[in-house]
Symmetry: C2
Subunit: 340 residues, 2 copies
């Protein structure tokens, strides 16, 4: 397939800014005749066709930001929306939220609906199925059409755009280190399947913390949850092994681990420690309440929208995608304490 020529390519080739190219192609009086002639000639030579979608998006500002989330019921994503909302309101933008329901097809469709001119830019966390398929064309098309896009939390290197992520390796390390510091040595990890990058990164942190204490990773203690099946039933078997703690990569897994531990007669936190991830209402109202890694969803949302609006409002000379890494914090509650 012939490479499509974009405003960006022309700008790069001729050593001018994208906004100069854009204005020259619109025959703007702000640009000198000499520059306009050069740019227009180049565009004609390479058969440049303005992408009407992109043009529409660039010219007709809607002051609306589209957000696509993988899940509807999920405390972390709710806090991200709150952060996006706050940042958007501050700059006079509205947000519209759509859901991919972890489905590749739904994500492709939703991107299409939102990018038909009704939004100025998009903030997305990628669907599970898309990560599994590794098919990112719907995103790379957006990027080549120069539609402002920020990915957060679930991101991939293949898509060249702005990104906001949690330091998941660091967070996994912090959680595991906390259990080790409390005297736990046989720590089970309840995580996601490998194609979910955040799970994989938190696992790296888990392994790193174990290695530092000269503990070899025991793969039997690592449970990868398939969310299409019963979560509890997948967690139960690891309690038949010799374990003294659990690090769960979300609060639902952690709450289930506490229930099972209690049913097995284990005292949490006296005999057994549980640490979760995502500081939501379950962690707060579970009994005992759950020590977690707080992911700062609010900050993540706010930073994502600020990055996006910057990209929408300033046509930068050279586009170099930014990546913001947000660190996480340990939130101590009742489900962990030093072993006696």
């Amino acid at each position: 397939m012939k490479q499509k020529i974009t405003i960006k390519t022309i700008a790069k080739e001729l050593g001018v800014s994208t906004s100069t190219v854009s204005k020259a192609l619109k025959d703007s009086h702000e640009i000198s005749k000499e520059t306009k002639d050069k740019i227009q000639a180049y565009a004609n030579l390479y058969n440049y066709k303005p992408n009407s979608l992109a043009l529409q998006l660039r010219n007709q500002k809607t002051k609306v930001i589209g957000v696509i989330l993988p899940k509807i019921v999920h405390h972390f994503f709710s806090t991200v929306i709150m952060g996006i909302e706050e940042g958007a309101i501050e700059k006079g933008y509205h947000i519209m939220v759509c859901f991919s329901n972890e489905s590749y097809a739904k994500e492709v469709e939703t991107l299409k609906v939102l990018s038909n001119g009704s939004v100025d830019g998009l903030i997305v966390s990628i669907a599970n199925e898309t990560l599994k398929n590794k098919d990112y064309k719907h995103f790379t098309d957006l990027v080549s059409e120069e539609i402002p896009l920020v990915l957060f939390d679930r991101v991939v290197d293949d898509i060249l755009c702005d990104k906001v992520v949690v330091d998941d390796v660091g967070a996994g390390y912090k959680a595991t280190k906390h259990l080790l510091d409390n005297g736990r040595k046989k720590i089970a990890l309840i995580t996601t399947p490998k194609h979910v990058n955040v799970g994989t990164l938190r696992r790296q942190g888990y392994e790193k913390a174990l290695i530092e204490e000269y503990i070899k990773t025991n793969n039997n203690l690592i449970i990868e949850i398939d969310e299409n099946l019963d979560v509890r039933k997948q967690i139960e078997p690891v309690f038949n092994l010799d374990i003294d703690g659990v690090f769960a990569v979300n609060e639902i897994y952690a709450a289930n681990a506490i229930r099972i531990a209690k049913e097995k007669g284990l005292k949490v936190p006296e005999d057994f420690s549980v640490i979760g991830f995502t500081d939501g209402l379950i962690s707060e109202y579970s009994s005992p309440s759950i020590t977690t890694i707080a992911q700062h969803g609010f900050t993540m949302g706010k930073q994502s929208v600020e990055l996006l609006i910057e990209r929408i409002e300033k046509e930068s000379e050279v586009y170099s995608p930014k990546k913001i890494v947000i660190s996480s914090d340990l939130k101590l509650r009742e489900s962990t304490k030093p072993s006696s």
Copy 2:
């Protein structure tokens, strides 16, 4: 202010359908010359001006439904979204969700953004502040512009449109009756301020159940929570009175009541019963888990979207708003049992 004449008024006055009026005004060949002349003359006489927004919405179908919710983090609303999503997908529609954050100004703004032609119709649950102000002009304007609108859960009689509600009186009655059947007699009610209609209706159900048992309502046992203040601190004082059970109109109030009861040394459910509302994750993972009134948010969302799509797709001869009442169910868990 002069009454604005609409297609509906013309249709009613001339005894024809709204679609006949609409077609006649567009000079459609489907309508006889005689009828067209009559309608056009009437429209000219009363200075009918087609509302461009309404026309745009009616003519250019986007296959997108706008949803405005009062809160971001709320399990009930999340389940409603899931129902709306499922119903929308079945009929080939997409949904876009926006949030009023319980603010009147944000609700007005968001209605404006969504009804600028980007959606075919709207599903809304009214913001707290709007209910307090009793200013519904932004909704009645939509209705007079013939933009399809369905209100759910938080609705008011002043807005003539389709509605989907829970039988809140019945639900409040069911919850209180369950506590009475379990031998509780001194039941505190933890509810919303009076302007939130669902709280007021649930309170009617509470009082109805008490009256049936010849128990006089004690206003000291009724706590109206102001969500801008600390919830727990507002619930605590009622525990200094002589009570043996709590009916809370949402699961966060219920979870707080259980915590306080446990801290006061009361055994739940042996000495003290708690029943909540909204069957969310907190009710499931709280310890003891919480008996609740399940509101069937999913069904509510699905019925709302089906009603809306029917309204979008069929221009009915005479518009008579529908009201669907969904009954709720008791979901038994650990926080209630017959007193010993």
